[in-house]
């Protein structure tokens, strides 16, 4: 993601650009001169100067709605208007949300980081303590369980195989590369749907050597595949559904969370729908996993793995001690 040059607190952004925008805005309202500043889009207000700073969602919106953004062929909701009395006088009218977003056109007006927007949950570090559920005054959080990959699992895992292991009768999952490839372009904010699941789940029927027989849940098909391609899944992993229709964005849930798993993003988009059911955000729609939180996830997981490791070591030591005591006795 290339950063927009307007987003830094330097002299140009704090001083010069505000002055420039003010000047253009004022000049736009004058007869004759106004037209020079109002009608031309290459002044960059609609970001025709820096297409490289549009993210994928904006690009797709822009391509789908070019007729709305092009002032020469606009059909409704003009963003510049004039009058019969002063045909030369043009004035700015509207930011074409959701086709344009204010922070894309005027990025120095970014949404502050402490804005309470869309809820995001790092389910990987959630411990199901339900503090958020009890903190919620509107009762919009509902905690459930879900069939998911256990992130602590895997004998080859970085955390030393401190999770579970594949067992007959248990669940397993394999990564779908074709879904992973589409996830890069998937904008969960504007899609208004669940994020496509990159895992295919199945039941483990048999384990022989390094291979496993798995029956896929979606197709019922039985396959035999290498165990290294499978991750341990569990249908008792904590998950939740948030009824955003009831949420008032007070952020008490975020404050209640003791594991920094629950946070309010500053994203204001993607919380609308045509039915109430669309506002029931399942785990896949709250799975906003921002890069800056990735580190926190890793740290948290490493911490838990260490804890588990010490626990096991202590247990082993205790067992050895008991064994030694037994032997000596």
């Amino acid at each position: 993601m290339p950063m927009h040059p307007h987003a830094k607190p330097n002299f140009r952004n704090l001083f010069w650009y505000p002055f420039k925008i003010t000047l253009i805005t004022a000049l736009r309202t004058f007869p004759f001169f106004g037209k020079r500043f109002g009608k031309r889009l290459d002044w960059g207000y609609h970001n025709s100067e820096h297409p490289e700073f549009l993210d994928d969602g904006s690009k797709s919106r822009a391509s789908k709605t070019s007729e709305f953004n092009d002032i020469t062929v606009q059909t409704f909701a003009p963003d510049r208007v004039t009058s019969d009395l002063f045909p030369t006088l043009w004035k700015p009218q509207t930011v074409q949300y959701p086709y344009e977003r204010l922070e894309e056109m005027e990025p120095w007006l970014f949404v502050p980081g402490n804005y309470n927007g869309r809820i995001g949950v790092i389910w990987e570090t959630c411990t199901a303590c339900k503090l958020c559920v009890s903190a919620c005054p509107n009762d919009c959080l509902h905690m459930t369980t879900e069939l998911r990959v256990d992130v602590l699992d895997g004998a080859d895992g970085e955390h030393g195989g401190m999770g579970g292991e594949l067992e007959v009768g248990g669940h397993a999952a394999t990564l779908l590369p074709e879904v992973v490839a589409t996830l890069d372009d998937f904008n969960h904010v504007t899609a208004h749907t669940d994020t496509p699941n990159e895992w295919r789940f199945g039941e483990v029927l048999d384990l022989t050597g390094s291979t496993a027989t798995v029956r896929w849940n979606d197709s019922g098909e039985e396959v035999e595949m290498d165990q290294s391609d499978l991750r341990v899944a569990d249908d008792q992993i904590v998950s939740g559904r948030i009824d955003l229709g009831r949420c008032m964005f007070c952020g008490l849930c975020m404050e209640a969370c003791g594991f920094t798993s629950f946070f309010m993003t500053n994203e204001y988009d993607g919380m609308s729908g045509f039915t109430r059911q669309e506002l029931w955000m399942d785990a896949s729609r709250t799975r906003v996993l921002p890069g800056i939180h990735q580190e926190a996830v890793d740290t948290e997981l490493a911490k838990r793995a260490t804890k588990e490791r010490t626990k096991r070591a202590k247990k082993a030591a205790k067992a050895a001690e008991a064994k030694a005591a037994e032997e000596s006795a």
Partner: protein, 502 residues
């Protein structure tokens, strides 16, 4: 070079009309001996009043400029009060048949108004496009719409009740506005409109300006303290706190102006700019910027208006004032701003001198016409331009900063920079200035030549600072921290990776 329109010589000259009138009328009377003194008194009275009225009424333009600018920023036209407002109200709602209050039921006045309303009233709604609040009169768009809105505002203030909060310190509460307003009006006393139009001209007028500018903050603090209101108290304290941050850089900047011009007198510093051949703006752009920044803080305008931060403190230290006291405080605020613009014009923009006056005045016919432009007009135009370009523009562009930010900015940026400017001024005056090339003629001097190149010093200085400005605009480490500031952004969309496996 002196302005050719010399008001003072008309009223105070040796053989002026005032002097000869008084002398001839007192001939043979016991007062004959003191006729010279009386002529001086009358002349001074006339000059002071004329200058004050010029300054005072030209201040309407300041308010008007700001009103119109704020309207432009809001896609409106601002107050458009005009004569037409007497017979047409907002969107066809007339002001009522007010003429019936006149003697004999208004008579001809009512008839005229009725006719005008019929003929030039609001057009029908199909023709109207977008009507907005306060578009009282589209007829008023043509000639200085809303210019006399301040008269209406003043009348409104005069008619309002004066109230003192119950637990306020009544004496201080009443005295503070007068302290502020009177000290503000005293600033106007030393501001010249041209070489021949000024009220007084003390030798140390720059020092006087600084001193008198510094009185009002005391009144502000008194007002904030005595109102017995948390908002006003916080406003007053903030005013006192930010005082320390900007006063010292301001004094140092004015000191560097005085050093460069070799005088503490405003009029002499203007003469110096012409005689040396360059406006101070081009010799000390840094000083000009420092002066403007500190002056914005001094007159408590955005972005340094924490003392009256509307969003937090209602109306800041003047929350409890109402009626004409509020009006006077408001007026004092704008007079201080106006005075700041005048001082910038005089210190940095050559006062009443036109651009390239020395060069253009040498051209046979055009030059003669050029210098016919009254100096007072030049000063006023420059002042209004400074107000519009600096004060108004900054007000609508920049956001209010916090108290700790202005303190940090003042002590860490403005103060060192103003010290640098003082040193630069000393160096310029000592080593780059050639006093032999000063010339007080119409042509002006060329005391800032260097290495035989005319005007090298101001040109090089200006180019240097333009370069600094350019670098500031473009200097950016494009590879640094690609994250958006404070922005939660999904760098790795969910599901594209496995924690711990990347």
């Amino acid at each position: 070079m002196d302005d050719i329109y010399d008001l003072r010589s008309i009223f105070l000259g040796e053989d002026s009309i005032v002097s000869s009138l008084i002398t001839s009328s007192l001939e043979g009377t016991p007062l004959e001996e003191s006729s010279g003194d009386l002529a001086f008194l009358a002349g001074t009275f006339a000059v002071v009043n004329i200058v004050f009225l010029m300054l005072f009424f030209s201040q309407f333009a300041i308010l008007w400029i700001e009103r119109k600018a704020v309207a432009r920023m809001n896609d409106r036209r601002g107050a458009t009060t005009a004569l037409r407002s007497l017979w047409v109200g907002e969107n066809g709602v007339t002001a009522g048949e007010w003429w019936k209050m006149l003697p004999f039921g208004g008579g001809i006045v009512g008839a005229i108004n009725k006719f005008l309303n019929k003929k030039f009233g609001n057009r029908d709604e199909n023709f109207a496009t977008v009507d907005r609040v306060n578009n009282r009169s589209w007829m008023g768009y043509s000639i200085l719409p809303g210019f006399f809105q301040n008269v209406a505002d003043g009348m409104k203030f005069l008619l309002k009740e004066h109230m003192v909060p119950r637990r306020a310190d009544k004496l201080i509460f009443e005295v503070s506005p007068f302290l502020i307003v009177s000290s503000t009006l005293l600033i106007l006393g030393i501001i010249p409109l041209s070489s021949g139009i000024y009220a007084t001209n003390p030798d140390l007028s720059i020092l006087y300006a600084i001193a008198i500018f510094g009185i009002a903050p005391i009144g502000v603090f008194f007002a904030g303290w005595s109102s017995n209101n948390k908002y006003t108290l916080i406003g007053g304290i903030r005013s006192a706190a930010q005082l320390t941050a900007y006063e010292i850089p301001l004094l140092l900047t004015l000191l560097s102006v005085a050093i460069l011009s070799g005088t503490f007198n405003i009029i002499e510093s203007i003469h110096f700019q012409h005689a040396a051949g360059s406006w101070n703006l081009f010799l000390m752009p840094l000083g000009a910027v420092l002066f403007l920044v500190t002056m914005i803080a001094e007159v408590e305008r955005v972005p340094f208006d924490m003392p009256e931060a509307e969003a937090e403190l209602v109306e800041g230290w003047w929350t409890e004032y109402g009626g004409m006291r509020f009006g006077m405080l408001f007026m004092a605020e704008y007079i201080r701003t106006y005075a700041a613009c005048f001082l910038f014009t005089h210190f940095f923009l050559g006062g009443w001198h036109l651009p390239f006056q020395g060069t253009i005045s040498q051209i046979p016919v055009l030059g003669d016409a050029y210098v016919l432009i009254p100096g007072a007009v030049v000063v006023l135009l420059k002042t209004w331009l400074v107000f519009l370009v600096v004060f108004v523009w900054a007000r609508f562009s920049l956001a209010r900063i916090r108290t700790d930010q202005i303190l940090e900015f003042g002590w860490r940026m403005l103060l060192p920079l103003s010290v640098v400017q003082v040193v630069l001024s000393v160096l310029y005056r000592l080593y780059l200035f050639e006093p032999d090339n000063m010339s007080y003629t119409a042509e002006g001097g060329n005391a800032w030549d260097a290495f035989g190149i005319p005007m090298l010093v101001p040109l090089a200085t200006t180019l240097f600072w333009v370069g600094v400005f350019y670098v500031l605009l473009n200097d950016e480490d494009k590879d640094a921290a690609p994250d958006r500031m404070y922005h939660v952004y999904t760098l790795q969309p969910a599901g594209t990776h496995t924690p711990g496996k990347d």
